[in-house]
Symmetry: C2
Subunit: 282 residues, 2 copies
């Protein structure tokens, strides 16, 4: 089949490279920056250029651009995408994008599915894209109909063919709620962590814990600002929750309350153990 | 030479195994739990038992027990440790322990040096001890005299011989200040992170960022409570700082202030980049 990829940055570029490396599908790509599209062609990331004509040949279209660009592109191409074509976006937040894309989908024969590949790097751009970015990763899908098993099986097979280790199907609302905790809060906390005045003088004083806590501090602030604001209700709730927890340790320390501090630490430690062992799972 | 190791848990056990694996030194060990000492002997972690008689044969004594036990042991052995012997503790906080051990050191011919190996696991006990725990790690030393080059060179060579990658010499006060940021805060934040109600349902929704942020959430609450309370001034300062930072993102989100949110994220991102590239170092 033919796969169309919109946006040839880290995510789209890696999807293109993965389809080229692991499958026999024909890969068409488009980036708003013509130099990037050209570079992708020259370096064999894509077989050809995705445009208003060639998009009609695609059985699968993957949108790997910012939310507003996703909506604009889909609106522009809505009439030329073939009936039955599956269109999946790759945005980090799903409620607003799914609402808007499903609005465009109406009266058309193609099928929109919200998507969020759980993989990334703190670098962006085609030059960091790699065919193996998705190997073992999870892909979250938010289809309109979760009971169209044939469709989900087809999409899952495509995703597995380029390395994805698992596919999780959920609703846009649940996606946004959980992602606020697993990904967005992690980036906020990590970014906040390095703001301590002590952050300047750590060499020789740090082991794995510091490295892990600050790994995602470096980020694309333009992209994350957009994602955070689109999910502000959930993210604010998570930030408030961790601030509240941190204040509890702070109080126990301030009161020299060893019993309470021990209980607080044990609670977190036990909870982590339960989650890791799977008891905390649905 | 003969090395004496007090406390055969993860830290002491790994020191014993490292000296046995990488050097020809004779290793004597002692654990308050006789079964552990016996097990260490049976499994060739140690060459013999460290006691009131054999400790006199040691040129180096490493104390890998809790702060109070460190002080108690040293007080008990003060008169039998040989002149010139170097005694190094392995505790996570250095001000109080150095003050107390230097008090005991007075009128004796042995030399106390505060130490803190920057390595660990969230498991404890001899069964998790491994000879390679310190390979490439940093050892922090807080000697009374930082200008006794011959002594520091001797100790550094011993440490390098069992795999340590670097030795950092500092004061107890500076150690405690920086460690509050690089290690203690990391454990508090990680432990707090998993307390979100959303922590239960993350499978399929998480990538590296969640895993990294929560890796050290599981911890020995008894040990960390003692360490945190001994360093409460510095740790409270760090907790207050990150709470203050988190509140800034929260406000920008609440105000839908994209400009401010972007600036906050860029500040953290730039800072992390500077630190990693070494510009932030002394």
């Amino acid at each position: 089949m033919t796969v169309g990829i919109v946006g040839l940055g880290l995510i789209g570029g890696s999807l293109a490279k993965a389809f080229r490396k692991y499958t026999d599908h024909r890969v068409l790509g488009y980036d708003v920056n013509p130099t990037v599209t050209q570079y992708a062609q020259m370096t064999d990331c894509i077989d050809g250029v995705l445009d208003k004509t060639t998009i009609a040949e695609c059985e699968l279209v993957l949108l790997a651009v910012y939310p507003q660009a996703t909506v604009d592109y889909l609106a522009e191409m809505a009439d030329v995408i073939a009936d039955g074509t599956v269109v999946i976006d790759c945005g980090g937040i799903k409620r607003s994008i799914c609402d808007r894309c499903r609005e465009i989908e109406k009266d058309h024969g193609w099928i929109f599915i919200g998507g969020h590949p759980m993989a990334g790097l703190h670098h962006s751009g085609l030059k960091y894209a790699k065919a193996d970015l998705y190997v073992g990763a999870s892909m979250i899908l938010t289809p309109k109909n979760t009971d169209d098993i044939a469709l989900l099986e087809k999409v899952t097979n495509w995703l597995r063919s380029i390395g994805f280790g698992s596919v999780t199907v959920t609703t846009p609302a649940q996606h946004d709620e959980i992602i606020a905790f697993t990904s967005q809060l992690a980036h906020v906390v990590s970014n906040a962590y390095v703001k301590s005045p002590r952050a300047k003088v750590h060499r020789g004083f740090s082991a794995g814990s510091y490295r892990d806590l600050t790994r995602v501090a470096r980020l694309n602030e333009v992209m994350w600002t957009e994602l955070f604001l689109e999910n502000k209700d959930n993210l604010i709730q998570e930030i408030d929750h961790i601030i509240g927890s941190l204040q509890e340790y702070r109080e126990a320390l301030n009161d020299d309350d060893a019993v309470r501090l021990r209980a607080l630490l044990k609670e977190g430690s036990d909870r982590k153990e339960r989650i890791d062992s799977g008891d905390g799972e649905h």
